[in-house]
């Protein structure tokens, strides 16, 4: 456990992530889809927050925006006070180097060992071999897989793979960790194990974490939950339910109108 004490993760303070009136519209054929329709989200350092919403609510789009993977139609995304909207591709890549992604499908590289996968972000940054190896071992210990470093992803269980992915995200020395349905692809047995790890990292190491999920159980471990419905963000469940009700009613009304025309 001494090794865990030596882990250096960046100490952040203030607002690490903020979106202002964030919009993302797609054209699907001739229909305009408003995936994000004016999202305002503020994440402070050390927070453990979940974005809860059903499929098709704009969750993934939001993840892509705040993960600097895609560009918004309009609005502002500030990461550590920097507006990433005006950045070129290489600058966005630099921003992603400070974000720890954890995906639903783990997204480990199959031909690399667990350790090499954890090393990869540091390799990309150009860190020296010895240094990154030592750090990667520390992160593997931290997620409890110190004895699995030479295993390849295919030789690990789903839960273990996700813990390797978390170790890799930590290796980014992230300003915040961004998780996309982190337990969506693992059995309920190991789910608690992964969520426990996420909770512990936040509490003991103050890792700022944003979890995007449709699973209320996952959201329940976080300290704050925001709700996303039809591309809009709500701070309470009640507001979200109300929005959902209105949206359904509007849909019905439209359908009825159209139905009325046939009479």
């Amino acid at each position: 456990m001494n090794q865990q004490q030596r882990i250096e993760l960046p100490v952040t303070s203030g607002i690490v992530l903020e979106t202002m009136d964030l919009k993302k519209y797609y054209m699907q054929g001739k229909v305009e889809i408003r995936a994000l329709d004016g999202v305002n989200l503020k994440v402070e350092a050390g927070e453990l927050i979940s974005v809860l919403g059903p499929s098709g609510s704009g969750k993934s789009t939001l993840l892509n925006m705040i993960g600097a993977l895609d560009r918004p139609t309009s609005g502002t995304i500030m990461i550590e006070g920097q507006d990433i909207g005006r950045m070129n591709k290489d600058q966005l890549a630099e921003v992603r180097r400070r974000i720890g992604f954890v995906f639903q499908y783990f997204n480990l590289i199959g031909r690399l060992t667990a350790l090499q996968n954890v090393e990869l972000p540091m390799t990309v940054k150009g860190m020296k071999t010895q240094e990154r190896k030592e750090k990667a071992i520390q992160f593997m210990n931290l997620v409890g897989l110190g004895d699995r470093i030479t295993h390849r992803p295919s030789e690990l269980s789903g839960g273990q793979q996700q813990r390797v992915a978390i170790a890799r995200a930590l290796a980014q020395e992230p300003r915040f960790m961004l998780m996309d349905e982190p337990t969506g692809n693992i059995d309920t047995h190991t789910r608690d194990e992964v969520l426990g790890l996420v909770k512990r990292l936040n509490e003991e190491h103050h890792v700022t974490t944003v979890i995007i999920t449709h699973d209320a159980m996952v959201a329940s471990i976080t300290n704050r939950t925001v709700y996303i419905v039809d591309g809009k963000l709500y701070n309470s469940h009640e507001e979200a339910l109300e929005a959902e009700r209105i949206s359904k009613a509007e849909l019905e009304e439209r359908t009825n109108d159209e139905g009325g025309m046939t009479v």
Partner: protein, 455 residues
Amino acid sequence: MKIVDVIKYSGRSLKVQKGRAVLTVLGVVIGITAIVALNSLVGGFSNIITGQLSQGLSAQTLTVTSGSGGFGGFGGGGGRGAAATISYSNLTGSTDLQSYLKKNGNHVDGVMGVVTISAGQFAQTPSYYSTLNGSSVKYTATITGVDFATYGNSVFYASTFTTTGGLGSIPTDNNSIVIGYSAYHPYDNASTLINYGQNLVLNWRWLNTTAGNCSVNVTGVLAKIQGVSLASLTGGPSNNGIYMPITLAMKIFDTQKLSSIVLHVNSTDQSVIDNVTATTQAYFHSSGTVSVTSATSLLTTLNTVLGTVSALLTAIAAISLIVAGVNIVNIMTVSIIERTREIGILKAIGAKDADILGIFLVEALLIGIIGSLVGIGLGYLGSFGLGSILFRAATGAGGGFGGGFGGGLSTFVPVLSSTLFLEALGFGVGTAVIFALYPAFKASRKPPVEALRYE
């Protein structure tokens, strides 16, 4: 990403996709093997050919022949107009060529007249055959009339016109001849045909109409000349030749006409050769045109021909490199499609477009380097094998060249010059990288969101 890490990463992905990598490398290997094998083969051949042909051939020798064109179009400085008559009087008297050349430039230190009659014949019984049935054999040879003292001096053919290592001696009187080694020992067995010290009747035909015979005494046999010598084409000694004093030749053939005059210049500078050529042509100008052929121009022409053959073979081999290149495009494209998600992951953890481009280009680079090195090795080894097969065919074919080359070809060594090595390496690596450029560029430009979404 550091270049070392890019190389490690690319190397690892080649190692994992071993089967595919081997197939891709194989394409490059085949192309480079073909190029290297053919080139080092031609290199080895041309070394042998020029080595053999230039034996006894001095770069300082110029041959003056009547008319334009010289050796059936081989170089030479011929002009238009009637062919000049080159006669013995051009070598003697008050207006001889040598003094003219001395007056105009003074670059020539040897002048020699040559009379060549192509069909001289001896009816002769081989020494070994006579013990069997005693029948005679007709031996046909080229008869050359030369001034022995000049012909065998150090300026001209001292190295090949010698009986040292042969038999007997070069005659000093005006009625004796010396024979090439083939006339003495034509069958490569225990039997000899014409030996020194013999008196023979020489039958000849001159200008296809006049025929006659004369009695001559053989005083010597020239040492065997190795290989085929270009020197014999320019009037130098050959194994098949029979040599008599020029005065005897002129007497028995009743002519004052010379087949050629051989000049020896004191420098191999092109300017000197050009000057002597022009002076000689000016000397003969009043009687007509002559062509002056430099010995080196024959070699140059030959080397140009060999170079062209080599370039042609390279071009054919290069086609297989293009095929390899298309194969690389294919495999790279498939590999990139399969690794779309990996590209997405790399981008998500902060890899830039340049990093992705680097990874795929380095993969191609490694394929190119491995393929080229293996190809160069195989090509060099292959040219030994190919060479020996070709030689067996050449020597087995017999005939003029077969016999002549027989001795020299056993020493065939393919030539792998450092230039060829570097060119082959450059070709292989260049092909791999150039053909990988487009797929690698495409891979590097994939938007991260799309790449990550790829199943």
